[in-house]
């Protein structure tokens, strides 16, 4: 047998083997559908980055699992052992914590981006609901993982959480109580939290991820909301998942990983004191930052009086509304420019969550008087609402592609009209500049004062005035933009209020 015949036989065998595997596993078929070019944008991959964070947590958590012992007597000491004696132990714990925070933040950003660009609309309703379920599981990771180091902070915060669950209606509370607390005292509870954190929740999340990926393969990536179908030769052209899109994802993952590492260098983790009843009696219980906004709502005096169940019903209502959003927001348009109400509600929600979180951080353990609650929450909603609607009116007019509408002719002389227009524009410009400087200065001042000396009536009044000034300044900025467009004849939707001095008869 010649050498070439031998080689041919070997190649044939290899091809046969590859063919056998291919026919069983479908290796030569595309596993994932190609992605359009317009999806090469970080905002399209926020959910994927949350999955990257989950993978990093899985790796770092698996290593820590080798040393951690889930028992009240050894949980803290084993955590301390990882921290002090295990190779790169401090690094592992820090990265595990910050990627957990990043995962929660990315999941929230992913949800809000989806809300604004209407990814929940037909035919992706179930994708949205699955994503919401994944978000709840992510919060569950945070809640169950927080107790595991058994520090005084984590123990007190978990007790607050479990007390909240106890206030839910009996069938729900008894089920969650069975799931989280059980009857085994502290040891039983820690073991349940550990099991949930390392077995149950990861398994549930992976199943939900598989379901969501299946639906993504069915429906594909959602189209951009700018209107019109992307050109198939440019933004709309399809890119194969491997290597094109995979490399892009790896780039994002690498940059995300680098950011996490650098954050862990800048803010190294320090382990709080171990839990003991005496230490717990001296500490003010406070949940971790991602639950602070809920905790702050519960601390408002009206809810304190009405009972914990009323506050929790209110919070649950927010989550339920978000989950069933596809069946509430049923309009066909996905364009941001044509959904002012929903976009404004989304912006108000984000602003309220941020304000409540910062406020909660500044007022640990304090009951919030109703007046303060109304002033801060109402003021924030009002300010964001006014800014959003006015920005909408201006930008919705700017973004139109229709033929420009020239301003109606005026009987006044051209020179007089220009004089009046420029007078008003200049006056508003000066006001915007002054109020902008005042509001930014006031905001910084009131935040610094309250951060240093605690929340006071004076600080809150200063904050409220600063927010009002900021609102007026933003309104003024909208006015200036409107005037600029008015001069260029690019206005579609007229706002009479902004045309002062422009076209007086």
């Amino acid at each position: 047998m010649s050498e070439s015949e031998g080689n041919g036989k070997t190649t044939g065998r290899v091809e046969k083997l590859v063919g056998w595997f291919d026919s069983r596993l479908g290796l030569s078929h595309e596993l994932l559908r190609p992605a359009p070019r317009y999806s090469i944008n970080p905002f399209y991959w926020l959910g994927a980055l949350a999955v990257v964070a989950f993978v990093i947590q899985g790796i770092s958590g698996s290593i820590m699992l080798l040393y951690y012992v889930p028992s009240p007597t050894t949980a803290y000491s084993s955590t301390l052992y990882i921290f002090q004696s295990v190779s790169y132990g401090q690094f592992l714990e820090t990265v595990h914590l910050y990627t957990a925070y990043a995962m929660i933040m990315l999941a929230f950003m992913h949800m809000m981006r989806g809300f604004f660009v209407s990814v929940h609309k037909k035919p992706r309703e179930l994708m949205w609901i699955t994503g919401m379920a994944m978000g709840f599981v992510t919060l569950g990771f945070g809640f169950t993982g927080y107790l595991l180091p058994w520090t005084v902070v984590s123990y007190s915060a978990t007790k607050v959480g479990t007390a909240m669950i106890g206030a839910l209606p009996p069938p729900i509370s008894s089920f969650i109580d069975f799931l989280l607390v059980g009857t085994g005292g502290d040891a039983g509870q820690l073991l349940r939290f550990f099991d949930l954190h390392v077995v149950v929740l990861p398994a549930v999340l992976l199943v939900l991820l598989a379901v969501k990926m299946y639906m993504l393969e069915t429906h594909g990536v959602s189209e951009p909301v700018t209107g019109g179908t992307p050109d198939p030769k440019k933004k709309g052209r399809l890119l194969p998942i491997f290597p094109d899109v995979s490399f892009y994802l790896l780039e994002l993952a690498a940059l995300f990983g680098a950011a996490m590492l650098l954050i862990s260098v800048l803010f190294p983790l320090t382990l709080p004191a171990a839990y003991s009843p005496a230490a717990a009696a001296q500490s003010v219980p406070q949940p971790d930052w991602y639950f602070l906004w809920i905790y702050q709502i519960i601390k408002i005096s009206a809810f304190e009086q009405a009972g914990l169940s009323a506050a929790l019903t209110f919070v649950a209502l927010i989550f339920i509304l978000l989950t069933i959003l596809p069946f509430i927001d049923r309009g066909e348009t996905r364009r941001i420019a044509k959904r002012p109400w929903y976009v404004t509600i989304g912006l108000v929600f984000i602003a309220e969550v941020i304000v409540l979180t910062i406020w909660g951080h500044q007022t640990p353990g304090q009951v919030i008087p109703d007046t303060q609650g109304i002033l801060v929450l109402g003021g924030t909603a009002l300010a964001v609402g006014i800014i959003s609607f006015n920005a909408y009116r201006v930008f919705a007019g700017r973004r139109t592609n229709q033929a420009p509408t020239p301003p109606p002719p005026s009987p006044r002389s051209e020179e007089g009209q220009m004089h009046s227009a420029s007078f008003w524009t200049s006056a508003i410009f000066v006001t915007v500049l002054g109020l902008g400087a005042f509001s930014i200065g006031g905001l910084i001042n009131s935040v610094v004062v309250m951060a240093t000396w605690g929340v006071s009536e004076l600080g809150l009044v200063s904050l409220a005035f600063s927010l009002i000034a900021l609102t007026v300044a933003v309104l003024g900025a909208c006015f200036l933009l409107y005037r600029l467009d008015l001069g260029r004849g690019r206005i579609k939707r007229r706002v009479k209020m902004f045309e002062v001095g422009w076209n007086q008869k």
């Binding site: 790169y88 990265v95 790896l250 780039e251 940059l255 990983g257 680098a258 650098l262 260098v265 190294p268």
Partner: protein, 89 residues
Amino acid sequence: MRLGDWLTYRIFVLFLLFGLLSVIFLWTLNPVNSQSQTAFAIYLSIDLIIFAMVSYIFRVSKWGEEVKRLPLVAGCVTLLILLYVGLAF
């Protein structure tokens, strides 16, 4: 490629060399010492940024698009700062 093949591919090779050196350096660190862990995090982030930049050049070249100046310059500046900070440990 606006930056020119010459420059882009030399940066590509330089990144790979720099990344390799950084990975070798990682193995010389004391894994329990707190300061070494900080250095580890910095040099690992340097490697990740290098990987992202190499991948960017490869991907954009494959797509027949321009390698933009801004990501490369921003990446190089970040790498220099990190290298400088990393040397302090």
